[in-house]
């Protein structure tokens, strides 16, 4: 091992299996790959106000628990799932930092939703549009 330069600061290896990772000065290479942490080049995302997001989430939970007592069942269910979607969006965008990720990740997540929808669409008539009472009498 020739040129090991250990500098202060905290470094992140490429992978453990590579053995001890060669350390580099933090600003030595503009195009390093996950070598330094935190890293201006890759840790590009900001930090939303997490506390505010948490409070919104808890409020939404409260909403989804109470709508059942206020509205008729149909509206309530729609509202409950809308709040669930809203909650999921908040978690994914803020806690998982999706809103700072490149378009690629959005596409991957959207693909999941599309795939699931395709499955639901294809199976829907076969499971739901059958005679309701399929249990046999004993």
């Amino acid at each position: 091992m020739t040129s090991t330069i250990v500098t202060p600061g905290i470094h992140v290896g490429l992978e453990d299996s590579h053995g001890p990772v060669s350390f580099q000065p933090i600003h030595s290479s503009p195009d390093h790959d996950n070598v330094v942490y935190p890293n201006e080049a890759t840790d590009y995302h900001g930090h939303p106000h997490y506390g505010r997001v948490l409070i919104t989430l808890l409020l939404l939970l409260g909403v989804s628990l109470t709508v059942g007592y206020v509205f008729s069942p149909g509206i309530a269910i729609a509202l409950i799932f809308l709040t669930a979607l809203w909650k999921v969006t908040l978690v994914v965008r803020n806690f998982m930092h999706l809103k700072y990720e490149p378009l690629f990740i959005y596409i991957a997540i959207a693909a999941v939703a599309l795939i699931i929808y395709a499955f639901f669409f294809g199976v829907y008539p076969d499971i739901t549009a059958v005679p309701r009472d399929v249990t046999f009498p004993h």
């Binding site: 091992m1 020739t2 040129s3 992978e15 453990d16 299996s17 590579h18 053995g19 060669s22 195009d31 790959d33 690629f104 693909a111 999941v112 795939i115 395709a118 499955f119 294809g122 199976v123 008539p125 076969d126 499971i127 549009a129 059958v130 399929v134 249990t135 046999f136």
Partner: protein
């Protein structure tokens, strides 16, 4: 910085290695061993079909139960334990880092774990033959109630159900899927993040694109099946009723879950092979690949369509007729992108300076045979014809005409092509030609006549036709016998290949870096590539298929040649 080698023990170098090349080789060897097992099973049940009631050499008598188990496990092995590891994992692991100019996969440890989970899954599968009751025999689709015997058993017994062939098969498949998922994550991250400088998206070789598209299709279609496999396992072991209509469940749900994965799986197997073709055809016709970008777009279109066509496997299962029309149309639509890809391949050959080397012969043989499989697929995709031909030998012949060229011709093309890369040695060409021609002839001998057997109404899950006078009439029994003799010939032919490989490995290295005069990055590295692959790391200046450039001195310009 240089890649210095540190002393590695035997275990960390060859067994629990994190090097992508070792892992790729391990996958390939494992896949070939499993191909041997699958071939042996095929030999046994083919022999039984041709000569029912006779004792089978190297096996003995084959009962109906064992026949069903053999057919089932043969299908399982060939798709999940041969096709997937050899085409996707072996070539993906070996080639992706080399072709994009990287040192290794993104997550080498995950890669190693992926192989060992795969190895365990293969063991579990083989073990299922030796549990009481034998291996599962309800078809590779594992439809309940065959696969959910728990609620059919009058005396349900947890441990008996857990260690039944059914449960072990579900477990083996689940482990295999996990292994492939880990591999797929690796492929995607490696390709996105670890490319050499200058390797932009439109300079990536087609095979890397296709391997990644295959990994995406796999990852996104396998999820529901994983959930469904849990449900099936619980049905079988604990006696829940997810697929039991008597208990409010629905067996149709499993069929949907299975084929929602099972059909895209076909494209997961097909795309890597097409990628192999896309690498080989330009090299041996000394021409740039025709319509590079169009091929990628077509593959993306087929990936999108592939998750919308699954229920064409269920036309006779009683699905909603309106949906049958939808799936029929989708199935016939999906032939358009693949026809486009094959036309682009043929246009690549057009007017080229063709070098008929062994890899090229396998590649062209692939195109010819796949044409038969693809065209018969068009018939079957239409629900009106499928209702007649379903579960006959027509279907068997059809999918062997797609999957055999796909898995074996694709594999052999790639193997003959990249063997100099793996080993630094060259396979014997005349033995390779014998291997190709005998395989080609015997393969057609096995399956072409079975189309007629299928149209005559021979059902695929009957072990002894002599008790069905209507369909065992001549010439169909003779056809079965011809098929069996050809199948035995096909398997014996593969010994030429094994002999060739063993003999070639004992030769000295040729020292030729780029024997086929190809342009892609893997030939820039030494053969076999050292740990770390490249020294120095290449920089990419051009696309992957710069052959016969007008102002170049030689008829190939590697990707790392700077532009003038």
């Amino acid at each position: 910085m240089e890649n210095t080698h540190h002393k590695q023990s035997f275990w960390s170098k060859y067994v629990f290695s994190t090097d992508h090349k070792t892992i790729g080789t391990q996958y390939m060897i494992m896949g070939m061993i499993m191909a041997g097992v699958g071939g042996y099973l095929a030999y046994v049940f083919r022999y039984n079909l041709a000569f029912p009631g006779k004792s089978i050499p190297f096996y003995g008598m084959l009962g109906p139960q064992a026949y069903n188990a053999f057919v089932t496990i043969h299908g399982m092995i060939m798709v999940f334990w041969v096709g997937m590891p050899v085409l996707l994992s072996a070539f993906g692991n070996y080639l992706i880092p080399l072709m994009i100019g990287s040192d290794d996969m993104a997550f080498p440890t995950v890669n190693m774990m992926s192989f060992w989970i795969f190895a365990v899954s293969a063991l579990v599968l083989i073990a299922s033959f030796f549990v009481p009751g034998g291996a599962f025999g309800g078809g590779w689709t594992m439809y309940p109630p065959f696969s959910a015997g728990g609620y059919l058993d009058p005396n349900p017994n947890f441990f008996k159900a857990l260690f039944s062939g059914t449960s072990l098969l579900i477990l083996a498949v689940a482990l295999e899927l996990v292994a492939m998922l880990m591999g797929g994550i690796n492929f995607l991250v490696t390709t996105i993040n670890k490319r050499a400088k200058g390797m932009t998206a439109w300079r990536i070789p087609i095979i890397v694109w296709f391997l990644n598209i295959a990994a995406v299709i796999f990852m996104f279609s396998v999820g529901p099946l994983v959930a469904g496999a849990f449900m099936l396992l619980f049905d079988n072991v604990l006696g829940t009723g997810f697929y039991d209509p008597h208990r409010g469940g629905d067996p149709m749900l499993w069929e949907h879950l299975f084929w929602f994965f099972g059909h895209p799986e076909v494209y997961v197997l097909l795309l890597p092979s097409l990628g192999v073709l896309a690498e080989i055809l330009p090299v041996f016709s000394r021409k740039p690949l025709f319509a590079y970008k169009t091929i990628i777009y077509l593959a993306l279109a087929s990936a999108f369509l592939s998750v919308l066509v699954w229920a064409h496997h269920q036309f006779v299962a009683g699905i909603d007729p309106r949906m049958a029309t939808f799936f029929s149309i989708g199935t016939i639509l999906i032939s358009i992108p693949f026809a486009g890809i094959f036309l682009a391949f043929m246009a690549t050959l057009w007017g080229g300076a063709i070098r008929m080397k062994v890899p090229m012969m396998w590649a062209i043989g692939f195109i010819g045979l796949f044409l038969v499989g693809g065209l018969t697929g068009l018939f079957l995709g239409s629900n009106t014809f499928d209702i007649y031909a379903h579960d006959t030998y027509f279907v068997v012949a059809h999918f062997h005409y797609t999957l055999f060229p796909d898995i074996f011709f694709g594999f052999f093309a790639a193997f003959y092509y990249w063997f100099p890369k793996f080993s630094g040695k060259q396979l014997n060409s005349s033995m390779g030609k014998w291997h190709f021609w005998l395989t080609f002839i015997f393969f057609n001998g096995v399956f072409f006549l079975l189309f007629f057997n299928g149209l005559a109404g021979q059902h695929r899950r009957i072990n002894d036709y002599s008790s069905f006078s209507l369909i065992s009439r001549e010439p169909y029994q003779t056809f079965e016998q011809i098929a069996t003799i050809c199948a035995i010939g096909l398997m014996l032919t593969q010994f030429i290949f094994i002999f060739n490989v063993v003999k070639s490995l004992r030769k000295v290295k040729t020292g030729v870096k780029n024997p086929w005069e190809a342009t892609t990055l893997e030939w820039v590295s030494d053969s076999p590539p050292p740990h770390g692959n490249f020294n120095p790391y290449p920089e990419v200046f051009r696309g992957a298929y710069d052959y016969s450039l007008p102002d170049a001195e030689v008829d190939f310009t590697p990707q790392n040649t700077p532009k003038a």
